[in-house]
Amino acid sequence: MLIGTIVDGIVIDHIPAGRGMELYKYLELDKLSCEVALIKNAPSEKRGKKDILKINDIIDLNFDLLGYVDPGITVDIIRGGKRVEKLHPELPEVIRGVIHCKNPRCITQVEQELEHVFRLTDREKKVYRCIYCDTRAK
């Protein structure tokens, strides 16, 4: 069992409950050959419930993506069975190729190869807008 026994790997903790699978897909963890565990609805002091992702390898993570999903997420880097680093992703200024513009009149709907890019326009309210058509991300 992977849980609790990572020697060298990553624990993505404090994921809002129910969003672990979404993050799993965003981070393309299905493409990894190492062990990956998704723990749903773990008890959390702060939020009542949380999701956790455990990856039995130290991989490059897209921190912008983590920050976009929730800036409360934490990332523990485990080496030799011990936590050597605790990282806090921040709300990214720009997010590329992850969320998609839903505006049917946006150029990205017709030109399929264009990268979908969103820019943070209101940090307090966490508003992201398509850089092409200014439509707000859901």
Partner: protein, 307 residues
């Protein structure tokens, strides 16, 4: 990214830059000969993926009066776009031929894609219902020329305030000047969208009021910006018929207006201003067209870095 300047969205221009553009336009009006050779040897490419003859001719005559020349296409059928070339590729190719691009496109964001890929300045000449910055610059120059200032006035916006992008941009642009308040005149179903009300008007503490009655608002106005109320915007035909005449400008509606009122319209009009109003000195919309050419001349000079 390089330091090429583009104009995609009016909000990327500072008040100082807009003032500088207006100043250049006024100088062009005063001394046209001084500018007639400024762009000698330079080419403007007008890439119009949908027809807008008035805007295209305004850009083209602006470049010609600066001594430059013009290449381009109008309507997608006549261009490589109909063969499926991406906007990004077109922008790269045209960068080899021209010195500056003016792009009109039915899809929102297309000129931004061009700007991200071109090695020459790109001007957004209208992207669907999204942005049309040179129209707003035209409106600002017109207000300045009619009033001698851009602040301290009551601006009435009338008609379709929900879908009218030129109105949203004008409200955003005029909100940056001191002492401006707005009267928003429209039927209930065509009032300004929430983001304009909240992010522009309320966020900046701009005084405004909303009314359905043009007649009631008229005596207060220094500027009246008219837009068209289109049949297809109404849910019921009955509402359209009930309201359409309310928002059509006729000479009798001007009875209580100020002598100094200026009536603007982004044109083309269909029937929202009766031809009988044209003779009234307060009608500015044809002078507005001319201002559009002058401000585009100033903009081309600025983006090309021509002194």
């Amino acid at each position: 990214m390089s330091d090429i300047r583009h104009l995609i969205d009016i909000s990327t221009l500072t008040v100082e830059e807009i003032d500088a553009l207006i100043k250049t336009a006024l100088d062009i009006i005063e001394n046209p000969a001084k500018y007639s050779e400024k762009c000698r040897g330079k080419k403007l490419a007008t890439l119009f993926y949908e027809p807008s003859t008035r805007t295209r001719l305004s850009f083209e005559s602006a470049m010609l009066e600066l001594g430059g020349s013009v290449i381009g296409f109008s309507e997608a059928q006549s261009s490589s776009a109909s063969k499926g070339e991406s906007v990004a590729d077109t922008a790269k190719v045209i960068s080899c031929f021209a010195d500056i691009i003016a792009m009109r496109h039915p899809l929102e964001g297309a000129p931004m894609v061009a700007a991200l890929n071109a090695s020459i300045p790109v001007i957004n000449a209208g992207d669907g219902g999204h942005n049309h910055p040179t129209q707003t610059l035209t409106d600002l120059l017109t207000i300045y020329r009619e009033k001698g200032r851009l602040g301290h006035m009551t601006v009435g916006c009338c008609g379709d305030l929900k879908f009218g992008r030129t109105v949203h941009s004008l409200i955003a642009a005029m909100s940056r000047y001191e002492g401006v308040d707005f009267v928003l005149i429209s039927p209930e179903e065509l009032r300004v969208p929430e983001n304009v009300r909240n992010d522009i008007l309320k966020a900046n503490n701009i005084p405004y009021r909303e009314t359905e009655s043009l007649l009631e608002a008229m005596p207060d106005l220094d500027i009246l910006y008219m837009t068209r109320v289109q049949r297809e915007r109404f849910i019921s035909e009955a509402d359209y018929v009930r309201l359409k005449d309310t928002y059509i400008m006729t000479p009798d509606k001007l009875m209580d207006a100020k002598e100094t009122l200026s009536i603007l319209h982004p044109l083309p009009r269909v029937n929202e201003i009766s031809v009988a109003v044209d003779k009234d000195p307060r009608a500015c919309y044809f002078r507005q067209v001319l201002n559009g050419k002058y401000i585009r001349m100033a903009l081309i000079l600025m983006l090309l870095g021509v002194k």
